[in-house]
Amino acid sequence: MDITDILNLSLLASMVRLSTPLVLAALGGMYSERGGVINIALEGIMLAGAFTAAAVTARTANPWIGLVSAAIAGLLVAAIHAVATIQFKADQVVVGTAINILFLGVPALASGAMFGSTGSTPQLPREQTLPDWNIPGIDSIPILSQLFSGHKPIVYLAILMVPASWYVLYRTRFGLRLRAVGENPEAADTAGVSVARMRYAGVLMSGVLAGIGGAYLSIGQNSLFTRNMTAGRGFIALAALIFGKWHPVGASLACLLFGLAEAISIRMQGVVSIPVQFIQLIPYVLTMVVLAGFIGRATPPKAIGVPYVKEK
């Protein structure tokens, strides 16, 4: 085996692709957690998005409608989370866990009802998945074209969302208020900012982004939904968010690292003589190592996880 079989330009291109759902989910998580709501439900929201995208596309034969539906599905699942944790002040981790468990099962049930198969949705023909877009200008530059051209539209969306999220968080009213609410909700409240409204906005945005991230798995990277197809990506995104110190650029870089680990593990399968199960462990082991070495040092938003109650 030659090392260049693994370490080459197409590895980096696949890193970009594999990081995409992680980046979207992590940025989504960032909006929720910067506002003070732990969003452990990213995994469940991604599953809901992935299933909805595949199922709607299978029925309408239009991946764009599938994509929009996935965003709406993410929004709705996040709304359950928001109402339970913000309105009814339920424990955020418990609600998130419940959502994750629920959406492990709901897609199978719905898929069985809609398509007669609980294991997966029907295979979509290639022209019914999201198209590959070449970027004029970049597609003629040798190295850049391989890295940044010929991807699905969601990849470009994820790339654009990084600077956009930075701008939103640090340059707009919404961002300042969201950060204030996540750090010290009482202070924001006394300054005339509605804590509940900001938190709803943050959680709902996380639903839209994680839902789109899920859609990338089923109608971008693949052409059908299979049971538990996110395989823990929601949790990896959460880890990237912590590793990236809840900062849009930091979190996205962490996602690239996890994407690279996944890309390497895919490359190595069949190339090296290690059982494939061990190779597939790489991204998860990396997640654990990174978190174990890092988690104490990252300071989360101060009010994270605490429902806002002012008169006890």
Binding site: T172, L176, R179, E183, N184, A188, A191, G192, E311
Partner: protein, 506 residues
Amino acid sequence: MAEDLKYAVEMRGVTKRFGDVLANDSISLAVESGSIHAIIGENGAGKSTAMNILYGFYAADSGEILIDGQARSIQNPGDAIRLGLGMVHQHFMLVEPLTVTENIILGSEPGSSFAIDFKQARARVRELSEQYGLRIDADARIEDLSVGQQQRVEILKTLYRGAQILILDEPTAVLTPQEVVEMFAILRSLRDRGKTIIIITHKLAEVLALSDRITVMRDGRVVGNISTREATAEGLARLMVGREVLLRVEKTDAHPKDAILVVNNLSLESSTVHGSLNDVSLEVRAGEILGIAGVEGNGQTELIEIIAGLRPQTRGEILLEGKSIDRLDPRRRKNLGIAHIPEDRHRRGLLLDFDLAANSILGVHRNSPLSGAVLLNEQIIAERANRLVREYDVRPPNIALPARALSGGNQQKLIVAREFDINPKLILVSQPTRGVDIGAIEFIHKKLIELRDAGAAILLVSAELDEILSLSDRVLVMYEGRVVGEVDPRSVSEEEIGLMMTGGKR
């Protein structure tokens, strides 16, 4: 017209209940526009609650509020801000990782929805801080500022929103004497520019020096409303507490015995001058109070925390009755008879979400009979907690309440009760009366003297020079982590000790 504007604020029959506690019982209050109006009263009298209702932070159960003569419904702080009200809370409402400018503009940001105009914001903050003499770095992060500076940010925050009526809840409790002087100058200049100021404080001298009118509250009711010209400290104290209060400490001379605490060459290395200790040696004997005077941040906090076992020293040794305690953890030190009243009651003194019973056993929770081999002895804990709450007059006397629901002064009484009840040999006391009402101050001071006379050794740190000089039998002065001298509290002049505290003389 002038008649209409006579009162900037009127509250009529405002009532507020928290569960069983009637925090405000039909209170009425009128504040003349362009005046400084003080509200005084014991801990838990309902002062903060009344002001939080005025500011829309809490909703009243009933009652009416008039601003500039018109009845207004104030549902949330946003409404209050629009009506020209601004409030500086007892516990600051600042977002620590954000900058001064970000905190000030929060909720009223200049620019469009798509872009905050930071340039304009910064310029406006600078302009305001110059106009009112509130010097502050617009780009500093809140967490890097001193409390005095944080308070200026709070005041700027209200001015930025165009507040005409400023409410300040115990603004001087955390300030150094120098900062208090500056603060008063600022408040007077604000009044002279036509602003109306409502100030809550426990310090009668401040009330008399600063205010135009005074409202006195007790047990949720307004019990007095007087012009400051006609008020005396004794009269106000009587109104507040409902009985005569001793405003001075009465004590006999100390009869010190053997040394209880000996500290030898204690040093703490730190990256800053504030927070380091340099070769501190001292001795506290049974039956005496050793006071430590000094501007806050000159090593007093660190000294006390090292002796209590909350942080390790770099060098030096600590002996209790001749035996080294350097290797013992805080709980073991407490069980040897070291009581500690910490300066920051929220961080070091209480578990705010635990009930009073649980808080009353912190540090002695493993001792029999409070605890058996495995389980806590709930009944004995409850009996003891009830006794403490009664003896130390913690209000409301309900041991099932979370510590968070108590007013600041009552939280302090609970800590004092817990610590004094272990029959301490040595008592480490930091800022024992910060934010505490005069009745409770009298009580805590009396208790300290009692414990001294019973043979306890007491090490006292306080930012209140008066408190140090009137309670202590001997006084050491600290400056930049060193003991710069010892003075006799009976004969030293304020000038002399003030000079030592600022490093002017050693």
